[in-house]
Symmetry: C2
Amino acid sequence: MPGRSVSRQTLSRLPTYLHFLRSLEGEGRRYVSATAVAEALGLNDVVVRKDLASVSSSGRPKVGYVRTELIGELEHFLGYDNTQEAILVGAGKLGKALLSYDVFPQYGLDILAGFDTDPQVYGTEVGGKKILPMEKLSNLCRRMRVRIGIITVPGEHAQEVCDTLIEGGILAVWNFANVHLSVPEGVLVQNENMAVSLAILSNHLKERFSTK
Amino acid sequence: MPGRSVSRQTLSRLPTYLHFLRSLEGEGRRYVSATAVAEALGLNDVVVRKDLASVSSSGRPKVGYVRTELIGELEHFLGYDNTQEAILVGAGKLGKALLSYDVFPQYGLDILAGFDTDPQVYGTEVGGKKILPMEKLSNLCRRMRVRIGIITVPGEHAQEVCDTLIEGGILAVWNFANVHLSVPEGVLVQNENMAVSLAILSNHLKERFSTK
């Protein structure tokens, strides 16, 4: 059984492999090799071979992997077959979009409820999920053993919300606010910082036009 | 004048510095040092000093930067003061959320219009932006010299959409679809892959519980 710890780089490529392997459904290919995956995705052969070997030991030389088995192994490794429950704080535009984003269950994420500080939205539903007052957060997290907290509040409130989540027993924070969050050791913050993406895009365009 | 090319790591921290510097508004601090920024954000001193030096040469030993000047330099470097126009393809749930996300203009992004293949949504408006048929994409991009394309279509259509964008003169693709995109040299793809983030969160929880 291969080790469970892989690098972030490897981890970030695994969903792409999975998507590609699933897309071969219907082509009737029983086996697929690391080389074939690498070619199809325009990636380095050696990198793909290493990545796949870190999640599966079922590959055979010159034959490759049984496609459906490898799919299962990737799904398991990525936790898609083991649904994690999450709560979301901040039912603004982005929060509402995430609450009603129905693709998450495919990736093993189930958002149980949203929280907000605005009494006007208490009790309303977004995407079938109730919006609750912040006072209920800790209790619900502890009772349901929720481990993932999603932060979609404005930057200036994000750290305070993060602290409340951690008090409630949250161990992994998905942060959509454009700020750095301080957390105790053992808690992971995954930043989904759109401002950073925009800076990268804008910088690319500047460089393109300054070298012309 | 400091060089324009910085690493992705540096680039990814700059919006956080900017946010922090803006948050000091009202505290009446004229100067701010790299050390103070590092402390407040829980980052390494040396890293912050290097990052700031790569966007500004106005820092003075023992005094630091004039806060408002450094804000201006960061905004300029990040392109927030120079609005880039973009178009979005795929007016599904995520696409609609992005079209009506009113925070983008602060980051220098102006989405001009959305495109879709569903005739039922042609001519409707989301967040004040028209949804247009795909046939109009190339022409609009070329006429308006749009350089940024946002992809929010299902994975299986993403490459095709990407090719159409590039035909229209797009140079930077912001990809929300969970697939690898092949692009010609000189075109940047910035992946906003939520599946990857979820895999990272899920993996962290697995590791936390397997070591207990």
